[in-house]
């Protein structure tokens, strides 16, 4: 009798929960996906914390040993210290973590056919939103961990942490979301996770660095008339330069004996914010459309 009553109560509870449809169901499923993905990506998160720690120690080594020896680039105050640490290998860490967190976001389910279990239970839209949020949270935690290390170093060395560091954190978080959206877009049509990670790292490190140089050197962009809004990695420069605004907008780079060209180095704050938001919208829309259209091998 008691067990029958218990069963009835459970059935009643199931029925109540099942009535939660529409927006309530959207929020509930996104919430469930976030908590599942946070647990599932925990090991990846630990690996990336180690990567960020490694990048920090590499910067520490350069600043405390090499630059001290050379004298010229050695930091003299909290701002220059933070600029040095953030301007060196930090962008590389941002690219690696975005690729690692975003590479599997869509491609994995199609390559491993895990979608056969997921998709009748959750829609692609909710799954994508939940995954983006959870991976962005983990990515943001890695970034904050790096900034904590930099701030601690600044405090130990100069007994102060300039509050401009929060500007830099804000830009880093926004830029990392652009990178995550870009990798998600690649993941929406790439065959598998590894291929997406490698392609996105190579593209962001090589292609995105080479294109501005080629354009500037070849004279296609004459007299620096057009800022390089079409190269989204250009916006990443504001993360370190915002600490010392107004920064140099463009500079002439000389590689003796014959190579000399001018290129845009720092976007304006308004231009960077607008540009990054536009890129986020473009990449997310494309990723969403391709994801919706993509079907598993068996479909």
């Amino acid at each position: 009798m008691v067990s029958i009553l218990k069963n009835n109560i459970v059935t009643e509870q199931i029925n109540i929960e099942r009535q939660k449809v529409g927006l309530r169901r959207d929020i509930m499923q996104i919430n469930n996906t976030i908590s599942f993905e946070l647990k599932r990506n925990f090991r990846r998160f630990i690996v990336l914390l180690i990567v960020y720690a490694g990048i920090f120690f590499l910067s520490l080594l350069m600043n405390e040993l090499l630059y001290d020896l050379m004298g010229e680039f050695a930091p003299t105050d909290s701002i220059s210290l933070m600029q040095n640490y953030i301007g060196q290998f930090f962008i590389l860490a941002l690219i690696i973590s975005a690729a690692m967190f975003g590479g599997s976001i869509i491609a994995e389910d199609f390559y491993r056919q895990t979608g056969n279990l997921l998709f009748p239970k959750i829609s692609k839209t909710r799954l994508l939103v939940g995954r983006l949020i959870s991976r962005y949270i983990l990515n943001a935690l890695c970034i904050l961990f790096f900034y904590v290390l930099v701030a601690t170093t600044s405090f130990i060395k100069y007994q102060e942490v300039d509050l401009k560091i929060f500007y830099s954190i804000g830009w880093a978080l926004l830029y990392s979301f652009v990178l995550l959206c870009f990798v998600s877009f690649l993941s929406s049509f790439m065959k598998n996770t590894s291929f997406t990670i490698i392609t996105s790292i190579l593209f962001l490190l090589i292609v995105m660095q080479m294109v501005p140089v080629i354009l500037s050197y070849s004279g296609v962009v004459e007299n620096n008339e057009i800022p390089m809004f079409f190269i989204f990695s250009y916006f990443g420069n504001i993360i370190s330069e915002c600490l010392n605004m107004p920064a140099v907008r463009y500079e002439t780079i000389t590689h003796p004996p014959a190579l000399e060209y001018s290129q845009w180095s720092t976007p304006s704050e308004f231009g960077a914010a607008l540009g990054m938001i536009i890129y986020i919208i473009i990449f997310l829309t494309l990723a969403y459309i391709l994801y919706q259209r993509r079907q598993s091998k068996s479909e």
Binding site: V10, T11, Q13, I14, I16, E17, R18, Q19, K20, V21, G22, R25, M28, Q29, N32, T33, F36, K39, R40, R43, R112, Q113, T114, N116, L117, F119, P120, K121, I122, S298, E299
Partner: protein, 356 residues
Amino acid sequence: MKINNDNIIISFKNLSKKFGDFQAVSNINIDIKRGEIIGFLGPNGAGKSTTMKMMAYLLKPTKGEIWIRGNGKLEKLSNHNKDYLLNNIGFLIENPAFYGNVSPRMILKYFAELKGYPKKKVNQRIEEVLETFGMMNWIDKKIKTFSKGMRQKIGIASAIIHNPDIVVLDEPTTGLDPQARREIRDFILNLKNKGKTIFLSSHLLYEVSEVADRIAIINRGKIVAFDTLDNLESKNQKSIINIELLNHPEDNELDRILEHIREILIPFIGVSDDLNWLNYNKDNKIFQVLFNGDPKNQLIILKTLLRHEYEIIEFSVPKAGLLENLFIDLTSSEKTQYLDKKFDENQKLKEISMEV
């Protein structure tokens, strides 16, 4: 359109799906009753998975409707009610693959919560389901260490974790060893005993014949037969009897015995004499008699053999064998053409009667 039959839990009405010019599913009409097991049979590319995916709302029908019972009444499956109608269905869509670095507890918890199972009861439910599969010792182990059979069980567990009334299983035993197949078959019967409705697709005819109450055979996107196995068998007018004798015939006397049996049974088999209706399988020492499926003839055949002093230790009609014959018959091209013609005639008759 209103459908009023309290016993029907799912209804396909003229369900069709076209991919470009290719008609994958054509005018499927099936009513599934509460608590029954429907076997869904068909050769590769016949439209089984497409039908199941339409049911899961992974594909939208080009034409036709799917009606599912929710809150006591049948409702047409559409974008605005799919969440709550599909909550009452558990799907295992072919070849379940899992993330290797998660445990059954973690993934089943996620699936149960996605489907709105009460959070406080989830852990208890996971343990209950895994207990049924004898997998409690593996509940917190990583899935990447599991065998294919164990993964398949987790796949089925994921389909039923939210305690749905309807379970849709697409090829649940493909690639499994006989032991695992039997366990899953027993589990399906166990679900039926709990009052669940099961829609089971499989290539393994024997398996379907063991569990299904009714069988739908699909070929080239069309349902060519949908009935109980007994009715299909009587419509097809063919059955096989397996006979084993106490003393297995020696090679030198086999021809004589076969000739004698042929002589005494020919008046009762009810099929054309041109068919090779009597065979002896030397591997399992079984005589196989093809007859018209009439139970009266079956009894007369037994009596005749006993009267002629054959010492019979087995006399059975294996269902899988029948189904296999039926399946091949119905899905062969000539038969399909014949049935297509019949189907079109029936449709015309229906249309005429509707107009009247």
